[in-house]
């Protein structure tokens, strides 16, 4: 990371942090940077910033850096960090709030994750559950990784995990209603 001039941080940036905090229900001044969130994170190895560092960026008002980070998109939402935080900081909610903010701003630091998530939610919305073949097809087409995971297809077909028949749940509409409600409330 280049030298950061803290004096260049504008009030607008601090306000943006406050908005994210409000959305996540978190006051970032609560965090004393102990690192317990990062210590227990199963995805930390794949992240560009550790979860603690995302909070640190927000504390300093460096909101653009946080929004451009891949970390919130790699987060598995296992909630281990939030459950263990001694200061009650909801890190998982923060990851979601940062993702939503970067989507609102049209930033997609992790394009594939975004495509996958949209495909997944669309899948659930349509069939009430995730349909592996459709999910894979949709993701591969949209992401451009046409052949990704194709070698797994025969094995999955042999075990009945994918097939010509499209499975769905009994009350598809109820699930659809549920997903729509969540999306309308700002979910993604």
């Amino acid at each position: 990371m280049d030298t950061v001039n803290l004096s260049n941080v504008t009030n607008a940036q601090f306000e943006a942090v406050e908005r994210i905090g409000k959305e996540a229900g978190v006051d970032y001044d609560d965090c004393y940077q102990c690192g317990k969130c990062t210590a227990g994170c199963p995805m930390a190895h794949a992240m560009d910033y550790a979860p603690r560092q995302i909070i640190r960026l927000l504390q300093l008002g460096l909101v653009e850096e946080a929004l451009a980070a891949k970390t919130p998109w790699i987060c598995a939402h296992c909630m281990v960090c939030s459950a263990r935080c001694p200061q009650g900081v909801d890190i998982t909610a923060t990851m979601l709030a940062v993702r939503r903010e970067s989507k609102r701003r049209g930033l997609k630091p992790a394009r594939e994750t975004d495509i996958f998530d949209d495909a997944f939610i669309g899948n659930v919305r349509s069939f009430g559950k995730s349909n592996e073949a459709i999910l894979a097809a949709k993701y591969n087409l949209l992401s451009g990784h046409l052949m990704q995971d194709m070698l797994n297809a025969p094995k999955m077909a042999m075990r009945g995990m994918i097939g010509p028949k499209i499975h769905s749940v009994k009350d598809k509409d109820a699930v659809k209603c549920l997903v729509d409600k969540a999306l309308n409330k700002g979910g993604e």
């Binding site: 990371m1 950061v4 001039n5 803290l6 609560d30 940077q33 560092q53 960026l57 504390q59 300093l60």
Partner: protein, 660 residues
Amino acid sequence: MSRVGVFVCHCGSNIAGTVDVERVAEEAGKLPGVVLATTNKYMCSAPGQQAVKDAIVEHGLDRIVIASCSPRMHEATFRKMLAGTDINPYMLEIANVREQCSWVHKEKEVGTPKAVDLVKMAVAKVNYDAPLTTTTIPVNKRALIIGGGIAGMQAALDIADAGYPVTIVEKEPSLGGKMVMLDKTFPTMDCSACICTPKMTDVGAHPNITIKTLAEVESVGGYVGNFEVTIREKAKYVDYDSCTGCGLCETKCPQKVESEFDQGLAQRRAIYRPFAQAVPAKPSIDAAHCRKLVDGKCGVCEKLCPCGSIKFDDVDKVSTETYGAIIVATGYQLIDWTKIYGEYGGGRYKDVISGLQFERLVNASGPTEGHIQRPSDNTEPKTLVIIKCVGSRDPEKGKSYCSRACCMYSAKHAHQYLDKVKDGRCYVFYMDVRAAGKGYDEFYMNTQHDGARYVRGRVSKIYNQNGKLICQGEDTLLGSQVVVEADMVVVETAMVPADDANRIGSMLGITRDKDLWLSEAHPKLRPVETNSGGIYLAGTCQGPKDIPDSVAQASAAAMKVAILFSKDELESNAMIAHSTTSLCNGCGACVSICPYTAITLEEITVRENSRMVTRPVSKVNPGLCQGCGACTVACRPGAMDLRGFTDEQIMKEVAALCQW
């Protein structure tokens, strides 16, 4: 022949773990004079002590050796135990087989023979022990307190309330010390002056307390219960008996001087009270700056004074008085960062100020009436940078220790700044936040919620660019270099002992550590005593601490004085040096080597070779001698000897160790 009993302690597994105690007892039993050698699980416990007492009766012992922990730990315990038996309490030797043996070795094969040797030496020595007795010395029930800051005042009030007369010697013109310079106190944000000045008034008004300001202790003689102290009160050039403290003189004095109280941020006159609530509430003349005293022209104050109190012919008053106890409360000063931190401008930038200067700046009765303004152009700083650990935890440039109070007062400074400058930004560069104390961590967290942005890392450099103070640092939590363009920088500097502390320490025989803080007798169990009897420590002269700790230590020291004064007579130390007149040649080597000034040369007239001769011989003052033994080593004719550690005993120990 003596009848020695040897008792070897297991100390649970502390000793028995690395020393074969049974074998030590067995070997001890073979030594000359030993009639009983046994072991016990815990010698110092009640059953352990009883076993010794029983053995004394049963075996008719006349002296004992206890192989256990350091004599510093339990020698007094066993002496007390012997006081209830037929044996004199000084017919006892402790062989230290714990601290100096079992704790430093890992294998029994090494520990056991060493323990045997240590016991051998103790037995050799105990055979030459002689019964010793103590004498009593009278106690003069008046206390002297050096330093009139919060610690000195608290100690004075406590001793005075206990009914004993107290004298406070303060080198400044007023009581109050550093605390009265502070604006507010953490974590409750009490106004410092509001809680300090009533104490000053109480001290001033207490019938048992005498205050000597602009005074210092010149010399100290005597010993516990009977210190002879010479105090010099510098000339004030104002007669305090007739002065009413109206303050007219101060308003008309033409000579302006940088105010020490306002840390150079404001000016005072040559005739002045350092601040409005000063105690005593009367002015004094600063002789170095007074025009009348320097070149004989002026004397405005003398003409104006309605009481005729100005006395330009005033002289220093020197008095010698006797005190029973002394409390040292000389306090601290801040390290001069300008001399050691060139990277922070070394004092070149007016807007880089110390924490104490910030206290004056934010104080309602300070130079800016509490408005936070840059000293350079009186504008309000919109970005404040606070740098902690300037001079602290920096062995290369400053001090290796943590100054303890800075974490909290820098949080307080950040809080005060954000409270007064609503649109201001405050960055605190820190290495750690050490907020151990009641309500302290909560205060620090609240400061962060106030908007203070803590950046973990030291500032490496401050430089001026277009009127901004550019602070270069690293946020180690972010792992990135950061820069802040500050309008004002506060450096929270290390506490160091007051200028006078070293002189007073050497005068009173108090040891000092590598940083010249005065040393307590034991860091845990005797935190307010010194190694010199009757001399106690209070406040920051002993080491950096905050106000609550200073006050607590002051009250503790006062209690020690009250305990001392509750007795009419004191028991003197039995193990002291004494001189054999017939051997002494009066060379005086012992006099110059004694750290407690306990030895003097005295003329005696004796019959030698059939005629009367008058010659000087050394004489030990039993009240002052602490039994260190320096004189016995210095004495060439061998006249000086230490009771309980005679030259003969030490040679016997060496001989016992060297026997094959």
